[in-house]
């Protein structure tokens, strides 16, 4: 069995004491920062990225993946305990999770989330191991035109999933692509938009943009509506679900896993779509649908499983084709490039130890998550309770030092501040920063593929339509946009996001 051989190669990479330690450290740090209210996975990863730059590539990516699940789980914890979702994907968890907490069942809700996540993570890891190789092989057939269209599709999908106006989101994508081009043009060596500033020759760092738009802007936004947070619980009494709870959890976890895994693969989606879909489907099929919104355990188990499954399977397009499907994956791509690895189908062939090591470490990370988090829940509860006014200056300090340490220049600190202002203004105008960050990372790649595609076709733009793969991908992207602009669906889309 090739799968077994691959997995055992993965285990031998992931199980070295060093990598195990980095995985554990990643999960721990991710959860620690993820439970701090107001910090989602994107900001968490951006903040912790500089720490991993000194590590060897495998360890760095293993640690980053750990940080990702950790912060996502941390976001679920805050959803349940204080009704503050860490990120869009755990928004639905607040609906029933917080209600359960108010009924004194916070521990049970957390256990349901943890067990659902672990099961979903295990299944999704297996799916990843099964589907990544054929997909990577298929991706080897991709020409430059196909890659270009794939990126267009991914960006259009991220537009559909963004909150607010579609038009604004498309604009954010274009603006992101444009900002991504700042610096030296790899082809001609010409300096573009760098204003003669030497620090801009390598372009604007993606960590700088991410920390500004997701870290700083978020702080300013939180200060706007500063209010007393009331936690539903000060102490977790019982973690153990009752027999009845177990029975009610099984199917939601299974369905959530299936839905989340399938939707997570879609570019632009990640785990958001999965958790929303899993919740609404569960509400329809459940025998206890009247209890939804009032503390139904299904309403926690299903979206949490979907959310984690999606987080896992969103690695598939990133690892096999080098195309990030959400801002977190975009940061991972950026991290890989900094480590000297060009993400794409060749990674699996050329660096099998790295590829399989990461996949296996995902499962190990999920295992750590459950071992680490349930016993340590008391500590997380206490961290959740830290008042925001003491918290945000510390976030600011870590952002400032982190950004400085990237290239040891204060210049990046100024730029982070600039993007903080920009990010804040844009959110005020209903322009979501997530599609912009994705486009920012894809900008230079897209230009390169466009250039190559048109060079091969002698300047004929029809190449994007005559190549079947490219045409299919473009059609899918356009279809997604059309579907999102149909009036009845527009209403539905707005409702979905309003649940926040």
């Amino acid at each position: 069995m090739e799968l077994l051989a691959n997995l055992s190669l993965g285990f031998s990479t992931a199980l070295t004491p060093g990598n195990l330690l980095y995985c554990l450290a990643g999960v721990f740090l991710g959860t620690l920062i993820g439970v701090l209210p107001g910090l989602g996975p994107t900001a968490t990863i951006a903040m912790l990225l500089p720490v991993t730059f000194t590590l060897p590539p495998v360890s760095a990516l293993i640690m980053l993946a750990g940080i990702y699940y950790g912060s996502q789980y941390g976001g679920s914890t805050t959803s349940i305990l204080i009704n503050v979702p860490g990120e869009a994907a755990s928004v639905v968890t607040t609906l029933d999770g917080y209600q359960m907490a108010r009924q004194g069942r916070a521990g049970v809700a957390l256990t349901a989330a943890a067990i659902g996540s672990f099961f979903a993570g295990t299944v999704a890891t297996l799916l990843l191991a099964l589907f990544a190789p054929p997909l990577a092989e298929f991706a080897l057939n991709f020409g430059p035109a196909d890659y270009f269209s794939l990126m267009v599709m991914g960006l259009l999908a991220s537009v559909v999933l963004a909150q607010g106006s579609l038009l604004h989101a498309v604009g954010m994508v274009v603006l992101g692509l444009l900002l991504g081009l700042v610096g030296t043009d790899v082809n001609s060596g010409a300096q573009r938009f760098s204003f003669g500033i030497p620090e801009l020759a390598d372009g604007i760092g993606f960590v700088v943009v991410a920390m500004g738009m997701f870290g700083l802007a978020e702080i300013i936004r939180n200060l706007e509506r500063e209010e007393d947070r009331t936690s539903a619980v000060t102490k977790i009494t019982s973690l153990m679900p009752t027999k009845e709870d177990w029975k009610r959890m099984v199917w939601p976890i299974l369905r959530g896993t299936a839905i989340g895994s399938a939707l997570g693969i879609l570019p632009g989606s990640g785990s958001i779509l999965g958790s929303f879909a899993a919740y609404s489907i569960e509400k329809k099929v459940s025998k206890h649908s009247a209890e939804f919104g009032k503390g139904a355990i299904e309403g926690v188990a299903a979206p949490e499983s979907a959310n984690n499954a999606g987080a896992q399977t969103s690695f598939i397009p990133m690892l096999t084709m080098g195309i990030p499907s959400n801002p977190v994956m975009a940061l991972m791509v950026g991290a890989m490039i900094i480590q000297g690895i060009q993400p794409g189908p060749s990674v699996m062939v050329e660096q099998p130890a790295l590829f399989w090591g990461i996949i296996v470490s995902m499962w190990i990370g999920n295992l750590f998550l459950i071992i680490l988090n349930l016993p340590m829940i008391g500590m997380w509860v206490r961290i959740v309770m830290i008042p925001y006014q003491h918290l945000f200056p510390s976030i600011l300090v870590f952002c400032a030092i982190g950004v400085f340490s990237l290239k040891n220049t204060e210049f990046d600190v100024y730029f982070m501040a600039l993007f903080g202002v920009l990010g804040y203004v844009f959110t005020k105008l209903d322009c979501e920063p997530a599609p912009m960050l994705l486009a920012f990372i894809l900008g230079p790649m897209m230009e390169e593929y466009l250039r190559r595609a048109l060079l091969l076709s002698r300047g004929d733009p029809m190449v994007f339509i005559t190549r079947p793969i490219s045409a299919t991908l473009l059609a899918l992207g356009v279809l997604a946009i059309i579907a999102a602009s149909i009036p009845s669906l527009v209403k539905k889309r707005e409702e979905t996001f309003r649940e926040e």
């Binding site: 573009r192 006014q389 945000f392 510390s394 600011l396 952002c399 501040a417 230009e447």
Partner: protein
């Protein structure tokens, strides 16, 4: 006729401004042709697209009514940004023992629950923590006391 949707209006203006600025800056970069794209080709295509989106948003703001932008948190915006920039300006000269507490105290003033006692404690603890972790632990080349103190 007045604009009925300030969010669309301002987004339109910002997009058009970015697009126009990019085209003006890129005018000397060399367009090339579709076959042999010059450094200006892709940026100009994107800028034109951005301007078109900006114009649609602008026009739409006069047709479709929308919600107001809402109050800006100027105090938070100003203090958070200013303290971050100040940190960048003085961190090499003054060193971390001065730059970090200033960053903490100025930014925490943005909260309407500001208290001297707490922000001074946070500043002290964070500064010690950062010097230990980032400087000693991770080797970030930042001075504890900067060049202004003759070191």
């Amino acid at each position: 006729m007045a604009s009925r949707n300030p969010k669309d209006l301002w987004t339109g203006i910002i997009y058009i401004a970015f697009g126009a600025a990019a085209i003006i800056i890129a005018r000397n970069y060399g367009m090339g042709t579709a076959h042999k794209m010059g450094p200006a080709y892709f940026p100009v295509v994107l800028s034109v697209l951005l301007i078109v989106i900006g114009i649609i948003s602008l026009v739409r703001s006069f047709i479709k009514p929308g919600t107001p932008v809402g109050k800006y948190a100027f105090k938070g915006l100003l203090l958070v940004t200013a303290s971050t920039v100040l940190f960048g300006l003085i961190v090499r000269g003054a060193g971390l023992v001065i730059a970090l507490p200033l960053l903490v105290i100025i930014s925490s003033y943005a909260s309407n629950k500001f208290s001297w006692k707490y922000s001074l404690t946070t500043a002290a603890v964070l500064t010690a923590f950062c010097i230990l972790i980032f400087l000693k632990g991770l080797g970030v080349p930042l001075p504890v006391l900067g060049s202004w103190f003759g070191r």
